[in-house]
Symmetry: C2
Subunit: 357 residues, 2 copies
């Protein structure tokens, strides 16, 4: 059993009154497409499970295989294939269209069902005395994309979610190349939606997202597939998550400078195409509030407009049930120090360049 | 700004496949009524906010003031005054009766509203197109108890939730004496339900719960109030939390050996009257899954029947959306080591006693 980074620093703190009530430890890697590290805070070498943060990498096969072209998939359908969606009508319709174009339907989805992330849709289902269906699962777009790729590749779509299915073996191979690792079905854990999730390091993920964001180091067809998925998500940020959610807010405001995608258990990844960087972070305890706050801080340190676009997230106000401000979610001193050195780095490089003139 | 225990050990780990995916650090104190420590794992001296874990201590004034007798409160009404309830009809009815006996109604509650913990009740509200009311707040019983105490004491019930209200000053004084600390309104943070929550240490809380569980070190009237509240919660464990929830399951199976109550942000406290011990723990990151798992392990180490009663909790099986077993929540090596020494301690004491004969 591999171990979790024992010495990861506190990234985010929760204050209430004058007390630090809770804290979230974790690790953050920022790297370029060659794997050169701009930031390595905490253990960025140990294995983590990337969960839904790499849905865009899992969706690469849909484009690279030619399935997206063959089925005439729209940007909306590609975006929802990369999504952890809220289950709003706009998401459900996009997933249904994607399945229909591949000649499949909802009964082919192996993701299982959960109540939609959208409270409104959940409430509507409850009002109608209904239960959620697999298509409401936040992963149904990813599953529809996997099914479409399997059909186009001439593979039996049945069992497409299993680690030893040819589709998952190919996806593992593709992610291995993008991230510079060697993933195998034998090492796979099972995700909440039943597809494999493979252990790999934050450093490898950061490099992989730098490549996903730029195409650097990828074969032309693969770089084209990455560009197509980025474009699709940038065109439809609401389809990648949903109204009011972090990834949608960030991409709606910051595309094409920022591609960002969160996953379960506190994983969050981003690609910054213009800066040529990838970001991968995980909060040890799996808390989304910690991961989103840490990602907001890293983006604010690197991307000029991010501080304004993510101001609510960065304010981190904690309100109680009567709307009274009772505390705040704040970046830890360790995180702020690490990001200050990150922001100072390019200036230092300029100074050093000038001093050699 | 006070700091959170930087070196707290990992208490609980989440495994998925062969990877430790996430972990929860924290601290645990077990002490007797004199404050002698049976276990001190991690930082048990630093301030934590006890939140709803001390609702039974906050309810002491309701009995000690004579309000419970004067209003003829039943055990059910006392139990719901100590509760973080699910909002099921049985809870709502008990809170309404408590308010009614004190000549008050729901409009006096200052706790604010949230969707009931009970999914069934939430679904029913949604089906009816309704919003939750303050009485659905899991803290409404505590608030009703506070209001009843204020009325009986001749205090203006308006503003009863504020740290400078005479009622809250008296409650702070009472908890200070039970826990051997000095709480003040000035140091109070604001809880989710708008009443004060005061920073104090896990060591002080553990001693306080040992006293609450035994009456040792308390004036007779106060010891009687503690006994009345314990009896009420033991008679109605479902009113203290709700069907399927940790505290209800534990007390339904283990009363009168175990009184146990969780709070927000990973705080969990217990009293073991027969062993004369109190337990207080907090998970640094605030995760309930970590706190409940850690409490289950401590109870299993100390109370003979707890391992059987809490077997589901101790199994910690993680199922995905299709019901497939994908991982497990397990006690960490550090926690298991600490608890092994705890279980071995009485035996060591016996050996040493025999060897001196």
């Amino acid at each position: 059993m591999s171990d979790i980074g024992q010495d990861n620093p506190v990234l985010v703190e929760l204050t209430r009154g004058t007390t630090v009530e809770s804290c979230h430890r974790g690790a953050i890697a920022v790297a370029d497409a060659q794997g050169e590290r701009v930031l390595a805070l905490g253990d960025v070498e140990g294995p983590i499970l990337p969960r839904s943060a790499i849905k865009a990498l899992q969706a690469m096969i849909l484009v690279e295989s030619g399935a997206a072209d063959a089925f005439g998939l729209s940007d909306a359908e590609l975006a929802v294939a990369c999504a952890s969606h809220s289950g709003d009508p706009v998401h459900i319709e996009a997933v249904r269209r994607l399945l229909g174009k591949a000649g499949l339907d909802e009964s082919d989805l192996a993701c299982g069902a959960h109540w939609p992330i959208s409270e409104k849709v959940s409430a509507e289902l409850m009002r109608g005395g209904k239960r959620p269906l697999p298509i409401h699962n936040n992963c149904s777009g990813k599953h529809a994309g996997m099914l479409a790729a399997a059909v186009h590749l001439g593979l039996d779509p049945r069992g497409y979610e299993r680690p030893d299915h040819e589709l998952q073996i190919r996806i593992a191979g593709l992610i291995s190349e993008i991230c510079g690792v060697r993933l195998s079905g034998a090492g796979a854990a099972t995700d909440g939606c039943s597809v494999p999730t493979w252990p790999l390091s934050l450093a490898a993920l950061a490099q992989g997202f730098a490549r996903f964001g730029t195409g650097t180091g990828l074969a032309p067809a693969r770089a084209g597939a990455a560009a197509a998925l980025r474009r699709a998500c940038f065109a439809h940020p609401v389809l990648v998550a949903g109204e009011g959610r972090f990834d949608t807010i960030a991409m709606a405001a910051l595309a094409p400078s920022v591609f960002v995608k969160g996953g379960a258990e506190g994983v969050h990844c981003a690609a910054l195409p213009e800066l040529g960087l990838g970001i991968a972070l995980k909060v040890d305890d799996g808390a989304k509030r910690g991961a989103e706050r840490a990602m907001a801080e890293v983006l604010a340190a690197l991307v000029p407009d991010a501080r304004t676009a993510l101001s609510d997230e960065l304010e981190g106000e904690l309100l109680n049930w009567r709307g009274v401000r009772v505390g705040q979610i704040v970046a830890s001193p360790d995180l702020l120090r690490a990001l200050a050195s990150l922001e100072a780095a390019p200036r230092r490089a300029e100074v050093s360049a000038r001093s050699t003139v």
